[in-house]
Symmetry: C2
Subunit: 469 residues, 2 copies
């Protein structure tokens, strides 16, 4: 296969001619969307110019990048550990970047193998055992805690912060503040207020950038820069993708094609389950990051027209070749309710030769002399072909290699695609009204003033409890 | 909440009375299944007696356990690292047990914190970068490689084996064989043959136990025992659950209730997406293990009657509280196509107090003096209540604590539930015919004799390629 110089999207096998048996999307239906996409793109352009889609401008924010690099290359290198306290959009981007762009098992590597860059821990839950265990095993005096919350009010992150804040001051006295950096709203919120009062360093999340679109803001960039990821290259890749996604020609816009195909698969082919299946361990957390982006942006009760819709595809994370031995049976033979998006990499960063041993044993002989990279590619191609033969839709996003420009381009492409998909589904891809009730009921259970949970189970508070146990 | 002494299933919120608005399962429909379940149970009893459901007997296999414990406590303790070479059902069980029953970040802990038990790496993919990186950083002379493949022919595992085998002999000469142990078929297959010829230690997977039901066989038990998990307690918990699941009274059989509720949700309430959402980091890989069990067992083209069915629910792994900030928006407001099964833990193994700081700031003050365990429980209960208010089905499997008996019970319960679900869906929960085509096409691409991929895309080999890039 020729090595591509940029990301490509092969969607042959989303379409009916490649699947047969009446399966797949009719290419004419895709063509029909071309007109509609032109008006969607015009609308996106308009909202972008009005500053309502702030994430589009992140790849161009040179001053911010300079500040981050200055901190990361200066004071940041005094630390042996960086711990992100954050959850959801405040955590997933940093994790995805670390897994994609640093060697496997980064935190387990010896100092030299990490080029003396710090370890990066992302504390994205309040499981007491995980939190306690991490705090047991890191030395606060060599650790930087990056508290990430746009609002400054996230219960999980604030709980972690209180625990860390108390411990830092207890062990380091007044110097505690040099072990904190807050990534938060530029003006409002608790973290901003505390930073001002206590002299803690901060970075700002632009107000027009939501959590799940923040990976290329300081939310993702600071942790990435601290562990030596070249964030200028990451943004260069995002800018290149941004240029490619400015066209209003559907067939030439990879983000638009991705959105249009997924939307048609869901609404016209009854395939609301959208699997993302990287064939590279390094991209597994990109799929996890995408899971939030796609689910939280498109899963909506209300349409833009105010009507009840209850729409939204369900993103599923899988991993090739591993999940061929877990999920493929279902994808091949179950309901025709899925699309699979493969993430492929043309050139692995490293490869491993399989030795020619036991040449006379048929189950082993054919492997000798090939490489693991070849095996992984063969498995991906075979899986895509097998799915097509079974009438199952799939497409492949091809990266020339896993490096900062490609990953920046991929993340940006998926964010732009999500905005287009919002338009196609007729929903607001920037809000998340459905999570408020859960937050309020949590506050009530935690005894926060002004919240109570009377009527928590409005419909069924008097329903008979049914328990086996 | 009173601490339970055993696993319970609370399914109040799967049923219509708790949801209102015409949502949820009609309790009478569940009652109707009680008769059908009695005949399903009779059939399962019969197949069990005929030896066709071998996994049921694993918790009673005392001799096997003795052999494993003998090896693990003896020669096994000579190693600092254990590396499982396996994929799918040969890997997921070991990973689930390690994550559940050993402290977080096991492999990163210093020797003393691991009580000098070895690290456990599960190499469940052929990504060359991951394989190379692991082999870079472990010393073969202190490592035991446990090659797990029932057939002995799995391409991924055999590739890893060839690489490891060559390196072991190169570095350790004839002593290589003491660094290998094969878990494979008792009689046939390549691994069995090689073990006999080269004098490699082995453990047998009973022939009537399939990969995805093998966690309580040597496949899962050997790695578990090597890292100090009390496998006898694990099996004791499984036996206790097995006793509970012998009743043919649906309302008293937790595995049957789980299967029946999921089946009714899928087939009568259009909810084919089955989310498992542990509120404990330690149980996250149990959800991943379940994902294979549920998908591969129930996702089937053909029913037991030979008719085309294309059935099978899609299992989804989520994690509380983390995924409240990623998937909950979709679960609350998207289509009514999901059930959520919470995994709850009454008593966390450790808890962390949240300090009372900043008592005057409303966003922080209410947290002080509570614990992370309380917060996590409050979030789970709030999420379940919020979902119910939005008309969304959920149930909760409660573990008294995360220990070997509870985890053994949980795993066994889910395996038994899968067999019942197979009966309800009318499919064979023990086979996986759909993965063969992909394997054959992989062999063809790898040049294995006797395989070719002409006509790989039977329907669309002449379909026009559609690529944007």
């Amino acid at each position: 296969m020729p090595v591509r110089s940029r990301i490509s999207l092969d969607y042959t096998r989303m379409l009916a001619p490649a699947l047969g048996g009446g399966r797949g999307i009719d290419p004419e239906r895709l063509d029909t969307l071309a007109d509609r996409f032109r008006s969607i793109q015009a609308d996106v352009d308009r909202r972008r110019e009005e500053g309502k889609l702030g994430f589009f401008e992140l790849p161009y924010a040179e001053e911010v990048v300079e500040r981050i690099v200055e901190f990361a290359d200066g004071p940041g290198q005094a630390f042996q550990n960086v711990v992100v306290l954050g959850i959801g959009g405040s955590a997933l981007g940093a994790t995805a970047l670390r897994t994609a762009l640093r060697p496997p098992g980064w935190n387990e590597l010896p100092d030299e193998a990490r080029d003396h860059f710090p370890r990066l821990f992302v504390l994205d839950n309040v499981d007491p055992e995980s939190v306690a265990s991490l705090l047991d095993h890191i030395d606060p005096s060599t650790t930087l805690f990056n508290v990430v919350s746009k609002s400054g009010g996230t219960a999980e992150t604030m709980s972690q912060f209180l625990i860390v804040r108390e411990r830092l001051e207890r062990e380091l006295g007044d110097g505690y503040r040099r072990h904190l950096i807050f990534t938060t709203d530029p003006e409002s919120g608790v973290l901003r207020r505390l930073a001002d009062e206590e002299g803690v360093a901060t970075l700002a999340v632009p107000q027009n950038v939501g959590g799940r679109y923040s990976v290329l803001s300081p939310v993702g960039l600071l942790p990435a820069a601290l562990i030596g990821i070249p964030i200028t290259q990451l943004l260069a890749g995002a800018r290149e993708m941004d240029e490619r996604c400015r066209t209003d020609s559907l067939a030439d816009n990879p983000a638009a094609l991705f959105a249009a195909l997924q939307h048609l698969a869901d609404t016209e082919r009854n395939a609301p389950i959208h699997v993302m299946m990287p064939y590279a361990d390094a991209l597994r957390d990109v799929a996890d990051w995408f899971r939030q982006l796609w689910a939280e942006s498109l899963g909506k009760r209300e349409g833009l027209d105010g009507e009840e819709r209850f729409v939204g595809p369900t993103p599923v994370k899988a991993l090739g070749a591993t999940d061929q031995h877990s999920q493929l049976q279902l994808y091949m033979e179950g309901p025709f309710d899925k699309t699979v998006t493969f993430l492929a990499v043309d050139e692995p960063r490293r490869d491993v030769q399989i030795p020619s041993l036991y040449g006379d044993i048929p189950e082993l002989g054919y492997l000798g002399g090939r490489t693991l990279g070849e095996l992984l590619s063969a498995e991906r191609e075979a899986t895509a072909a097998a799915l097509a033969r079974a009438g199952r839709m799939s497409m492949t996003i091809d990266l020339p290699r896993i490096d900062a420009p490609s990953v920046g381009g991929l993340l940006h492409m998926l964010q732009v695609a999500t905005v287009y998909a919002g338009a196609l589904y007729g929903v607001n891809p920037l809000d998340q009204p459905g999570v408020e009730l859960g937050k309020e009921l949590t506050y009530a259970r935690m005894g926060r003033e002004g919240y109570d949970d009377t009527g928590a189970d409005a419909a069924g508070s008097d329903a008979e409890r049914r328990v086996c146990g």
